[in-house]
């Protein structure tokens, strides 16, 4: 277990600034759009990474992804609020609150039971959304035009660039804060809890409380990601925000990324987005074959995810999964 290095903050800053500059001056709009969606999902995957380092995998984090997305959408539809400084914190807080409450239950379970309990909760939300006309049922509804400090635009290109820069800024801030967290005493309890809960207890800290805190953190980040995804896509519906396949995608990207760094989810998520897009272009009715095959290759040959390749290339030892 390597504890985090200080060079990571500098690397994250350089990386995100480089992506932002490339996006504004070089990259085509279609790729900007891909990065926007990928980074929105990556925010959620950072949360799953914290859980994974703790030895926990959730098959139901679409619950929080959907909660974040629907919070943003409902604030727009019911109150006409499109201000991202309101909607995104609200999405984060709503998911964190539900995560806090459900955390009292899930923190008692480990391994497959933890994973499936989360799936069960997400399916309940999916069922409620599908059956509730007032929440758009299966069709969902549109998201209010986003504004920043009251300023919005109808120009699609400007809007795309603004959202792209926004997701880069939030992505950078999230990555830096989570990196700092992982380097803190509480952050060191991720792998410590995974390795030996008994010793954690007998050092004077509650393993259950440590797990609860990390669960709330992952819920909050997933809600933030869902909120940003709703703004990016301009629409919410149960199928694309809360269905169990969304949870599966989040786990897929977590494995693809690897737990070695907080930067990994952003890289892994972009690879996933591009892979899915090109797989769909290539074989529209069997694109899952290519995506699934890739996951198999990752599990067999790269259990540390794409980050392990990058760290190997850089001559550094990655963190074990």
């Amino acid at each position: 277990m390597a504890l985090t290095s200080d060079r990571t903050t500098l690397g994250l800053t350089v990386g995100f600034v480089a992506v932002a500059l490339l996006g504004v001056f070089v990259l085509p709009d279609w790729l900007l759009n891909q990065i926007l969606v990928a980074f929105s999902r990556a925010l959620a995957v950072v949360g799953l990474l914290v859980l994974w380092r703790t030895g926990l995998v959730s098959f139901g984090h679409a619950l929080y992804f959907g909660l974040g997305a629907y919070t943003v959408a409902l604030l727009g539809r019911n109150y006409g609020i499109g201000e991202v400084l309101v909607t995104l914190p609200a999405a984060t807080l709503a998911s964190a609150l539900v995560g806090f409450l459900l955390g009292f239950i899930v923190r008692r379970y480990r391994e497959i039971f933890f994973a499936m309990l989360n799936l069960a909760f997400s399916m309940v939300l999916f069922g409620i959304l599908v059956k509730t006309e007032a929440l758009g049922s299966t069709d969902g509804f549109n998201v209010e035009q986003p504004t920043l400090l009251g300023i919005g635009t109808d120009d699609a290109a400007v809007k795309l660039t603004a959202l792209f820069l926004g997701v880069c800024a939030i992505g950078w801030l999230t990555a830096v804060l989570v990196h700092r967290y992982l380097g803190s005493i509480l952050g060191s309890l991720t792998t410590a809890v995974r390795d030996n809960e008994i010793r954690v207890e007998y050092l004077g800290y509650s393993a259950a409380e440590a797990i609860h805190g990390k669960y709330v953190m992952s819920a909050a980040l997933t809600g933030l990601g869902g909120g940003f995804m709703a703004i990016s896509l301009g629409q919410v519906d149960p199928e694309s925000m809360v269905n169990w396949t969304v949870s599966g995608e989040l786990v897929f990207v977590t494995i693809l990324s690897g737990p070695g760094s907080v930067a990994a989810p952003f890289i892994g998520s972009l690879i996933f987005e591009l892979l899915r897009t090109y797989a769909f272009e290539l074989v529209p009715y069997a694109w899952q074959l290519i995506v699934g095959g890739t996951l198999l290759l990752i599990i067999f040959f790269l259990p540390g995810g794409v980050w392990s390749v990058l760290s190997r290339l850089a001559g550094r030892r990655g963190v074990e999964p």
Binding site: G183, S184, I185, S188, L189, A192, I198, Y202, L203
Partner: protein, 272 residues
């Protein structure tokens, strides 16, 4: 001398099985107490109750004048009772140094202090000092999963001592360790514990170890304490001979050779 740890009428039952029966023990500050008994005699149950892993069915446990009966392990640890385990409980994927850093971090952390960086120079220096005290410098950057059994046990004990407890319970510190390693390991441990001035209770099967290091022996049999006396006296006790030493061929051989009484007498003489 005032009692730092006291159990009053402690019982523990698991269904029809009684694992501890009317345990009344009073341990004074700085005492080193050996807990002996055959497998299943109730030694580890006693340790588990004192450290909060198992709540007693009846009876009270007091520590430093405070009732700690039924408190969670982490609360008892924070109050000043720590323990090591028969099977070393360490963070297997972490290096020896990182194990100590995490232990120090938790010991230092209060309230929002848990959000402060783990790696700070002062804490790293303390971790290195602990490594030197327990003679583990050569294993500093080695993952715990690759350590020899004896070093892993040392690390387990060192981690338990990080919070500077008033009472330390060691559950079979030499189990699974070769005969050649036993005494060097115990010399390191007891030397470090003596420096810290901590009260120690340790469970042990090897009477040679017991007779050399403890000032008092609690002998368990079928959940009861059948003898509570200094080592020389305890090891000569007919009940202890029959129910504790009699079960163990190694100890029986030593007893017949007079090694245990000699060792116990040496300790007794040294303490005056």
């Amino acid at each position: 001398m005032s009692a730092i740890l006291e159990t009053v009428g402690v019982n523990k039952t698991f269904g029809a099985v009684t694992a501890a029966r009317d345990i009344n023990v009073s341990v004074a500050k700085h005492e080193i107490v050996g807990i002996i008994g055959a497998n299943g005699a109730g030694k580890t149950t006693f340790v588990n109750m004192v450290t909060g892993w198992l709540p007693p069915s009846t009876g009270r446990i007091r520590f430093d004048g405070r009732d700690i009966t039924g408190l969670a392990p982490r609360k008892i640890t924070r109050l000043g009772i720590c323990r090591s385990f028969q099977v070393a409980q360490v963070f297997m994927t972490a290096t020896v140094f990182d194990n100590l850093m995490i232990a120090l971090g938790i010991a230092d952390a209060h309230g929002l202090g848990v959000l402060l960086p783990l790696r700070v120079r002062a804490r790293e220096e303390r971790a290195d000092a602990i490594l030197r005290r327990y003679q583990m410098q050569d294993y500093r950057d080695q993952p715990a999963s690759t350590l020899p059994q004896g070093i892993r046990k040392l690390l387990d004990i060192a981690m338990a001592m990080v919070a500077q407890p008033k009472v330390l319970l060691l559950d079979e510190p030499t189990s699974g360790i070769s005969v050649e390693e036993k005494f060097p390991l115990m010399d390191i441990v007891m030397g470090a514990l003596k420096e810290e001035g901590v009260t120690v209770l340790f469970v042990e099967h090897d009477m040679e170890i017991v007779s050399r290091y403890v000032s008092r022996v609690l002998a368990f049999y079928q959940g009861e304490i059948i003898c509570d006396a200094p080592p020389a006296e305890a090891l000569a006790d007919p009940k202890v001979k029959e129910f504790v030493i009699g079960d163990d061929l190694h100890n029986q051989t030593l007893l017949q050779a007079g090694a245990l009484q000699d060792g116990a007498q040496e300790v007794s003489d040294a303490r005056g």
